[in-house]
Amino acid sequence: MFASWNPAQPEITDLIIQHDPCTLERLPVRKEELVTVFSRFCNRQALRVVRALPENDGFLDARAIDALFLTVHWEMQRLSEEFYHGRRVWELLRCVIASIRQAGAREKLRIVDVGCGTGYTTRWLAANIPFADYNVEFVGMDLNSTLIAEASRLAVAERLPCQFIHGDAFSREHSGNVFLSTGVIHHFRGEALLEFLRRHDQPETQAFLHFDFHPWFLAPFGSMFFHYLRMRTAIARHDGVLSAARAYAGNTLAEAARTAAPEFASGIYGANIWNTPIPRVFQSLVGLRRALVPEFRRQLGRRALRLGDLK
């Protein structure tokens, strides 16, 4: 409908910070390359945003971009708060943890928040869940060092029992028993989505919960209205709406997970409100080791109705 809603294009925030995939070192970003990308999609809104970004000799000013990223992530936290995202994550995670315990695991469980940004979900869990009772540790991971530094600063400021690590969440040294993410999975397109899901199949990993926008025809309109009201930066307004347009359908996600990580039973949780056709803003891709499924359903109780096919 609008050029800025074309799901084939990347989000601006996908491009303005880039890292070396091996060393994770920050790479300089040439502004003209971004202009070329969004010109190809005739996306005038993105072009306006990109052209306004501060630069030095044709390269984006890294410090200004970091400041912008922090501003945007602080704003995004507001959305998570308004949608009670921490509670929603815990509602599912609690059942996953109970299922793993029921299967006999006694060791400390490592819950890894993939692409955690400033770590809202991890910090919320650390602040609200009696982690010692559940014998779990909360770890947030991201490839963006500025966001990780901010997440660590905030956790220290509130003395929250969680840690944040700059690195690859699926590497051998950082892998977890449960992986979760929020608003991350739609950033992986095509083969990259399968590769992302494939990497979940690690010896110690028991489950994954990936929360993302639930796409339906009114979602971009709703997102546009909501972002216009709630977000103050032009980049957040643009990317927020594009995220809703790029979100994967539940079937696509579940099928991708079943193909890429067949050791897990995968399905969608919470797509609609109270089993009506009214969609929730967020849905979650749930994957569990097959042996955990019956207990997981039992733990969900009446909420099991929200769970689609888990296979």
Binding site: R63, L70, T71, R78, E82, E150, L154, G222, F226, L229
Partner: protein
Amino acid sequence: MTLLILYVLALLDGLLCGLRASMGRCPLIWKRGYYARSLLRGIVGGQIISTLALVALLAVAASSTHRDALRTDLELAAGRMLRIFIPYAALVLFNLALRLVPSTDIRSATSVLMLGPLTAIRPLVMVVGVLYGIFTSRLMETRLLGLFILALMLSLEFVLNRRAARAQAMQIRQLV
């Protein structure tokens, strides 16, 4: 009584403006203190606006040659404004009260379906309320006072937002 209700509504509006201006600008998890300060700033803003409006009202009344007529005209205009402002305020308060229901879906729905749109139409409600109030007034003083108060009301959130944005930008500059 009418003036008192308008005053209470102005304070309530200030309080919510203060809250909105501060939202999305503090990344902590526990921020009761932060929001309490924001609410207080909003109330102070609302109080300043009410005081300025009162000063303007008294100045107009003092310089008027037809005080009784002015008083009647102002009361009529204020009463008409309340017909717009009270239902709006009641709707906002009702939706805020709904957030006490222990359901994440209901709470989220109040944000998306009601509080968001109600925030969006706030400037419109202000304009419509004041214009509706002064539409039938016979005195120019009443009309000018109404427009002056409208300008004050509309500028409140703008000023609180600017202040909050400046504070946030300073904080972020120190972080990067």
